[in-house]
Symmetry: D2
Subunit: 255 residues, 4 copies
């Protein structure tokens, strides 16, 4: 499969995974393995150097890309402070911007996200902003120095799939940065669908963490993301209005 | 992955593929390989022992299960005759019943299909009937001795996906035979979706044969079918109406 | 609006309504009025000449077309017996065939329905068979003498809308009888959608009877059925992939 | 039906219509009549006092609310200038803000739209901003003084319906201003669906103007908007997973 390039890193896997909501953090290393994911996101709050049992970093092997997120930030300033803290704590220079002040649907604030992106990109961060799928906001994120855009498919944790599919399709068509679908993906078929329309990667957390068997679900998502990417590159056959026989239909018995 | 049992055969792959519509038959062996399919369907008409260039059997390796179909049959009698001919020609005792007299949408005739199934099952065939997804017809196919039922997702060759999803879901719920979704599957995400709701296998032809790169598309479908099956076994997380944070949302900066 | 002709009756309203599930039967006359429906279906069981309080006929004004249904019938014979009983009880010669032996999804048995249709059509009934949307079964119903076909949109009482839309669209395209969508319609938008694709009428029961305000909901369905029919006759504008401005986009300020 | 209040005006009709794209402007008065619309939008460019044949105002009766739009504006400043011009030309103090610099999908610029809204609301305009359906942008429009928000259902002129349905549903849930779905509505069923989920009104232009029969299509939309509103007020029945009989199912013949 072709590589995905973000910042100056080449990735050979297009499934990013999250570390929240697992019933048991001890299985996270096995999920990372089964999913073959190379980019692992986590809330900075969970990176707590004092409290041993809560430190999510213990569960992430060293050679993976950490993608700390700014969850808990309600505006650009808070996001910037969390990002700097993450870097200072040794989480590297990738940052996923999440600015959320809506507590019911957890929808991101595009405007504050653009501001935070601009500040952090200038400071050398590789900035991946979580966003509401809006073309003009995505253009502003490009101008602000984002390394990718992360539009939501549906509200966080809902598992409802690509409810914003047509808006995401437009971002894929118009934005010259990787488009990573984040939030809402609940099943492997949703992930395959995102990749088939040309998304560059997907981020999945709830759907894996709360599955009956998270380790095998990680594997299922890995396979479906690969399937969707290969299908995109292999050009899917067009939809037709009327039927077309795969096999010859008539005359068989009359010849 | 768990095995699929049809008749007395155990299958370790749940993607069945067809051999019609390929721009170049010479790539069929590579598609069989890339798809890892073990069951290959073909129209009996293409099994022509006289004309060397048209003989589809030359392109199917010996250790695969042949699933000749009765395409061209317009009623039960014709389907029975084609099935017997297939067996006589050495195609084995699996048969996919297709009885079609509708030339525009190529929709199957459930009633004639039940009759052909009854006759052929008694003769020892492993009968896989292609059908319009109707619960009572499926119950009649069970009674007639079918080895599986093959409901359509959409008309043959349309690539539109699971337009009959809710009817198929009911078959899966109520019928104690393998349910193999046949026709209409146009993208790997459609195949994954069918498997996630509990289909036992899918048959794909047009979507692979007419893809830009059929060999890689065969691989994509193989991965997506596996993804969907694993997801089904691993229990997908439920859909929710409101958002649920994967990461802690508030208080981060105030602690 | 154009008339709908069934049997030798001309109807100026394309919404048929049912009388089951109402919390209070006394509002049925008001619902008939608000919906402007001219064809009223009811289970024969409810037509009980002995028990005054249960007799649904008391709630249906005299000048409406009664469409007794054969609910409770599990095969063709039972349906035929119920139909004859209905006629004998003075319910007229219209009959809606319902043959159901599946107690979970309440899906009709097309094969038994065809048999009952054939018998009753010969006896002079105006036969409206409830059916699973299958093209070949619909063709057989035409041959059996049906006056219309009534494919289901979704299982009875689910209010989920046109889950079988593409199969219904094919019936509309191929069958030269009125197509009346029955079952599954849960909202006025579903009814409008059925009419827009060319259905000739819809039958609605649960969605009106169990609404918060059944009388006003009857009105809402009447309006939406009219809207959908007029739209069908007025030819809806086609869907487009890219945007097209309604208003002039550029140059305004430069002129 | 209940009244819709915008600014200090009470409206008894919830269908707004546009005046672009009509093959023949002379039918506009008849469409206004058939649709019963009370709010008519038009591009200011078409309000040309010099050129008689192009002056759209000639086709709008005096007692209707004009809703001039700022189409052609590429940023907030241009929108503000067009709005002031409209007022100066006698179009009243209602203004629909459209700020669009994307020529392919014609998607609005929420950020510039918020700025224009703020300026114009302070000047006493009744501001109705066309927007990409983003909750936080809608909250900002509320704060900026908008009189309603007008989220798009799909890109302008595509007739594809409520592709952004879930995002619009969230606006309806969270925003304490009228939500008017604008753009993308292609069929009466789409309009009914928007109203059923609680939209306060819809604006339709292309779907009426380019229909086979625009005058009757105006009527169809009027009926469907009413149907959807009444259904919303009457509380639609919930969707169910399994079937529920409307009529008694068993025992009929055994009693």
């Amino acid at each position: 499969m072709d590589k995905l390039i973000i910042g100056d890193v080449e990735l050979d896997n297009r499934l990013f995974i999250g570390t929240g909501k697992f019933p048991n953090k001890k299985i996270i290393p096995d999920v990372i393995k089964s999913s073959e994911s190379k980019v692992i996101t986590m809330a900075l709050r969970r990176v707590d150097l004092k409290s041993k049992e809560e430190n999510i970093l213990d569960y992430i092997p060293k050679d993976y890309i950490l993608l700390p997120n700014t969850s808990g930030a309600r505006n650009a300033d808070e996001a910037v402070r969390i990002a700097r803290l993450a870097k200072a704590m040794g989480c590297g220079n990738w940052i996923k911007i999440e600015v959320i002040s809506d507590n019911k649907y957890l929808l991101p604030d595009n405007y504050e996200t653009i501001k935070a992106t601009e500040t952090l990109a200038k400071e050398g961060f590789v900035v991946l902003p979580y966003m509401s799928p809006d073309l003009m906001a995505a253009k502003n994120l490009v101008n602000a120095g984002a390394a990718a855009v992360m539009p939501l498919g549906a509200p966080i944790g809902t598992n409802r799939g690509l409810e914003t599919k047509e808006l995401i399709r437009i971002l894929i068509d118009e934005i010259n940065l990787p488009v990573i679908v984040d939030a809402g993906i609940g099943k492997p078929s949703h992930a395959a669908e995102a990749m088939e329309i040309g998304a560059d990667a997907v981020l999945v957390n709830t759907a894996i963490a709360t599955a009956g068997d998270p380790i095998n679900m990680g594997k299922a998502f890995n396979l479906s993301v690969k399937a969707g990417r290969i299908a995109y590159l292999s050009k899917t056959a067009p939809e037709k209005e009327f039927a077309e026989a795969s096999s010859p239909l008539t005359g068989f018995l009359n010849k």
